[in-house]
């Protein structure tokens, strides 16, 4: 689930870095996790923070990267769906991924991304509407 969410939010390449950092952080924190914790929501929260770190690092990175070094990964899914997700406004992409792929309720999404549950619900709905318009995968599948 976490890899799927990371892929939807970050794309095929950066997703694996985020996944790795998420689970390493989880391993560090694990003994302190309360026994009644919602592990999935917690993992998404950690992944979200790692992704934010990634975006910050991205901004510091030189803009024009002519060629991404081939790290022998993530040839599994590219193409139309990621192209469509990448075009979504950031908030919509997060809300879509956290609700429709991670299965989190809007209340928890709001706790992770900030804002209200209603705003998260609207962002997910707008995101899905836009995806339906730009991504034709389900019609051709």
């Amino acid at each position: 689930m976490v890899l799927r969410v990371c892929r939807a939010v970050l794309g095929p390449d950066d997703a694996e870095d985020a996944w790795s950092e998420t689970f390493l952080a989880a391993l560090k924190a694990y003994p302190d996790l309360p026994p009644d914790a919602n592990v999935e929501a917690w993992l998404v929260t950690v992944a979200h923070r790692k992704a934010i770190d990634g975006w910050r690092a991205d901004r510091r990175r030189p803009v024009a990267v002519a060629e991404v070094p081939d790290r022998g990964r993530a040839t599994e899914w590219h193409g139309d769906l990621w192209d469509a997700l990448r075009e979504l406004p950031h908030k919509q992409r997060l809300a879509v991924a956290y609700h429709h792929l991670a299965g989190l309720p809007y209340r928890e999404i709001a706790a992770i991304t900030g804002g209200s549950a209603d705003a998260a619900r609207r962002a997910a709905a707008d995101g899905i509407k836009r995806l339906r318009a730009t991504y034709t995968g389900e019609e051709t599948a």
């Binding site: 799927r4 694996e16 790795s20 391993l27 003994p31 599994e76 769906l81 389900e138 599948a141």
Partner: protein
């Protein structure tokens, strides 16, 4: 909305990520317990090791999941399937079951056994391949001749059977007595060593 283009499971990616997590965890000193399984004539054995050494060998009859849960509770929840730390143990078990090895040479972490039981386990390592001792003899050897039943418990709760040969302890009348795996497993091990 259809997200099928994003696979729910991706075995190749998961395997790659798992290997990377194991390497990262090892580098950061977070891999408290590494485990793998090996197939043997006495069934699949779960092997688990801390950085100090082999900490658990569990028969299927005990339940691999139960053994891992116990490790999570008593040693650390930082447990990953990481075969490499157990390569030497697995290789030596293969050689043992093929009749080509008579003693194990791997570091042990006996933290799952408390003081008296640990002293019994230490003595068991001195009972050579193909030999047996009675529970009473072992009790005497560890300096507590009346603790025959406690020796029985120490053998029955041996956290690292096969490698620490509790199967070489039998009853004074020659019958096999209890064993952590199954009576058949004890028979198989003693039969292998008698051949």
């Amino acid at each position: 909305m259809n997200f099928d283009a994003l696979p729910r499971t991706d075995d190749a990616a998961q395997a790659r990520l798992h290997a990377r997590l194991v390497a990262d965890a090892e580098r950061e000193g977070l891999l408290d317990v590494a485990y793998r399984t090996v197939d043997t004539p006495v069934g699949s054995l779960l092997l688990a090791a801390t950085p100090l050494g082999l900490v658990r060998v569990a028969y299927e009859t005990v339940g691999h999941d139960a053994a891992l849960a116990q490790l999570a509770d008593t040693v650390s929840p930082r447990i990953l399937a990481a075969p490499r730390r157990l390569d030497a143990t697995a290789r030596q078990l293969d050689e043992y079951f093929a009749g080509r090895r008579t003693a194990f040479d791997v570091p042990l972490d006996l933290r799952l056994a408390t003081d008296f039981r640990r002293s019994v386990l230490v003595h068991l390592r001195d009972i050579g391949y193909g030999r047996t001792e009675s529970y009473a003899q072992v009790a005497e050897a560890v300096g507590n001749p009346r603790a025959v039943r406690a020796v029985g418990s120490a053998c029955a709760t041996n956290p690292v059977p096969v490698v620490v040969p509790c199967h070489r302890v039998i009853k004074s009348d020659g019958s096999l007595g209890r064993y952590t795996g199954s009576p058949q497993a004890k028979q198989t091990l003693l039969g292998l060593e008698a051949a």
